[in-house]
């Protein structure tokens, strides 16, 4: 952790931002009310950095990620404004076609809490990963799928590609989701509550995989979570969200050592209270 910070921070000031969000507003029309789900937030992500967005349900953390990736089907928007720049490109002004290209090749990817909801139940795993592979000369599609499965810690790829999602455990499904997300060689991966539905022991393995992949590919990762434990383990920097606003942003160690906002302090306090032994360990 120390080493990564020491090397990242001086370099990053000169480096252009990978993701630069300024004054993002997402107001949703629900019935005859307007919900200010995201209400003027700014955030920055640098190349190869792991950033956490924490908050409780309803804080707007998932809406933020969906707004940035422009994955917002079936919502009625009352307001969607701000400045969204990814790798120098203006995402808001971008045509849908270009956006699709960005998702398909070297742009951004997303993984979600419940992989079963995002995998096609009627298709074999191999086909679903293969569809997402962006061709890169060298490897055949089949070989790419195998190497992706290997990369996310699923051995025995030849057998696995013939399986259907329901035949896999929750942890394996989430790894398959990560493999699909990686298939397009993204520069930025959004992970929305990636391990919330998993057992603690499996959560540890999946986080471990995510961490390794992030380092090996030098890929930026944005983790959206309610669990400060996940943040403490993985993230270089954190944004704390509450009712649509970012109330605090800091390097992870600073946040835990010296939370400046009372709400952040309370979140930290609660997570240590709910894990009491750790105070003694």
């Amino acid at each position: 952790m120390n080493t990564s910070q020491d090397s990242d921070i001086p370099a990053s000031s000169s480096q252009p931002l990978l993701l630069d969000v300024k004054d993002l507003h997402v107001h949703l029309r629900i019935g005859n009310q307007i919900v200010r789900a995201v209400d003027g937030i700014s955030l920055e992500v640098r190349h190869g950095e792991c950033v956490g967005i924490v908050g409780e349900s309803g804080s707007g953390k998932s809406t933020t990620a969906r707004a940035i990736t422009k994955l917002m089907p079936n919502v009625s928007l009352a307001r969607f404004s701000g400045d969204l720049r990814f790798d120098g490109l203006d995402l808001l002004a971008m045509a849908d076609r270009d956006l699709r290209r960005l998702r398909k090749d070297s742009g951004f990817s997303m993984i979600f809490q419940d992989p079963l909801g995002y995998l096609n139940p009627t298709q074999r795993i191999g086909k679903q990963i293969g569809e997402a592979v962006s061709r890169d000369g060298g490897l055949s599609r089949e070989q790419s799928v195998w190497s992706l499965l290997d990369e996310v810690g699923l051995p025995d790829a030849r057998n696995l590609v013939r399986r259907y999602p329901h035949e896999l455990s929750g942890g394996m499904r989430q790894r398959v989701m990560i493999a699909i997300a990686l298939a397009s060689r993204p520069k930025l991966l959004f992970a929305d509550e990636p391990t919330t539905a998993l057992d603690a022991t499996v959560q540890l393995q999946v986080l471990q995989t995510l961490y390794r992949v992030q380092r090996e590919r030098n890929m930026a990762v944005v983790i959206i979570t309610h669990d400060l434990g996940v943040v403490a383990e993985l993230c270089d920097r954190v944004y704390v969200m509450h009712s649509g606003k970012v109330i605090e942003t800091a390097a992870t160690q600073d946040l835990f050592a010296r939370p400046r906002h009372a709400y952040s302090a309370r979140l930290i306090d609660l997570s240590t209270h709910l894990n009491p032994t750790e105070r003694y360990a």
Partner: protein, 347 residues
């Protein structure tokens, strides 16, 4: 010691499932020979990973499933043969709270309608007195002022409020024990802390007992008197100090898998890759935990360890090497339990 309120003896529950190919079926032993006593007024936590059989155990305690093998007793009487008054007493004394409060409340009934139903069914109060009684029940679970909640529908309440209504409903008929299956896992951390506080308050004021099924060891440590750790359908360790002094390697594994809100430790960054978990249907010879155990010896391959008492304390462990491992697992500076009063949790 007093007689247990509920007890299970050699209880087994198997589920069979048609194979994906459509040929033949696989039998899963969800609960595979469990003995368990639940005493009045105690809070017993049951922890384990998904697939360990803890929810099936809850269903067996509630008599929502009838066991494949073995016996369940309520006040010394066998559950399956309960008839008449004693059966009604069982249904009154043993209440349930489930994981997802939204789906355990009828979306088409207001809180008042849903709760009135129970007053009527159990003839708890006269019609004229019912509304006042319902208000009392809601106040007791911290829904204050109650008039604000009585006329609402479940979807108009937050998750924490819904769970409070579910607890109020379970508490109405003054049960002896509430079996709660993952009551916290659909709630935010701050709300989890509030519900834990509520459970503590109710214990103090009414002496109701809880059997709490959970995968969250931290939360269970803060409220439980005793904890049972389940692995693949068996209780592998049960006792009152499993958090500070784990004796089974699986308990240790679960404790180690908890994420700490402490960035200076950074365990994931330094950790060796964890071994993968064998599929559910395969139960090895000997100790069922052996494939994931770092401490297995030759004996573990042949003999299936049974739950046995340790020489000190009331802990029981199903591990051949429990005595050797005890010293190894001791958590430095441990042995203290977290304050059970929940000070500062609802700040």
């Amino acid at each position: 010691m007093t007689a247990p309120l509920l007890s299970l003896r050699g209880i087994e529950q198997t589920y069979s499932r048609r194979n994906a190919s459509g040929w033949g079926s696989t039998t899963v032993r969800a609960v595979d020979g469990v003995d368990l006593d639940v005493f009045e007024g105690e809070t017993l936590a049951v922890v384990g990973e998904s697939g360990s059989g803890k929810s099936t155990l809850a269903k067996l305690l509630l008599m929502l499933n009838s066991p494949t093998n073995g016996k369940a007793f309520f006040k010394g009487e066998e559950l399956g043969s309960l008839r008449g008054p004693l059966q009604r007493e069982f249904r009154r004394d043993v209440q349930a709270v489930f994981q997802d409060p939204a789906s355990s409340l009828n979306p088409r009934m207001t809180v008042e309608t849903a709760l009135r139903f129970i007053v009527k069914r159990h003839a708890l109060r006269s019609v004229s007195d019912t509304r006042r009684f319902l208000a009392e029940c809601l106040t007791r679970v911290g829904l204050n002022p109650p008039e604000r909640y009585l006329d609402r529908y479940p979807h108009e309440l937050s998750g924490g409020q819904q769970q409070r209504v579910a607890i109020a409903r379970a508490m109405m008929i003054a049960p002896k024990v509430i079996v709660a299956d993952e009551p916290l896992s659909s709630l935010d951390v701050s709300v989890q802390a509030q519900i834990l506080d509520l459970m503590r308050d109710l214990r103090r004021s009414t002496n109701v007992g809880f059997v709490v099924i959970s995968h969250d060891l931290g939360a269970m440590q803060s409220i439980s008197d005793r904890t049972a750790v389940m692995y693949r359908g068996r209780i592998v360790e049960i006792g009152d100090d499993i958090y500070a002094r784990p004796k089974h390697p699986y308990t240790k594994l679960l404790l180690d898998a908890r994420l700490t809100a402490d960035p200076t430790r950074g365990r994931i960054r330094s950790m060796a890759p964890a071994p993968s978990i064998p599929p559910l249907a395969t139960t090895p010879e000997g100790c069922r935990f052996r494939p994931r155990c770092d401490y297995a010896v030759a004996l573990c391959e042949t003999a299936d360890p049974i739950l046995r008492p340790m020489h000190s304390g009331q802990t029981q462990v199903a591990c051949h090497r429990a005595e050797d491992l005890l010293r190894l697992f001791e958590i430095p500076g441990g042995g203290k339990r977290a304050p059970s009063t929940g000070d500062g949790l609802t700040a």
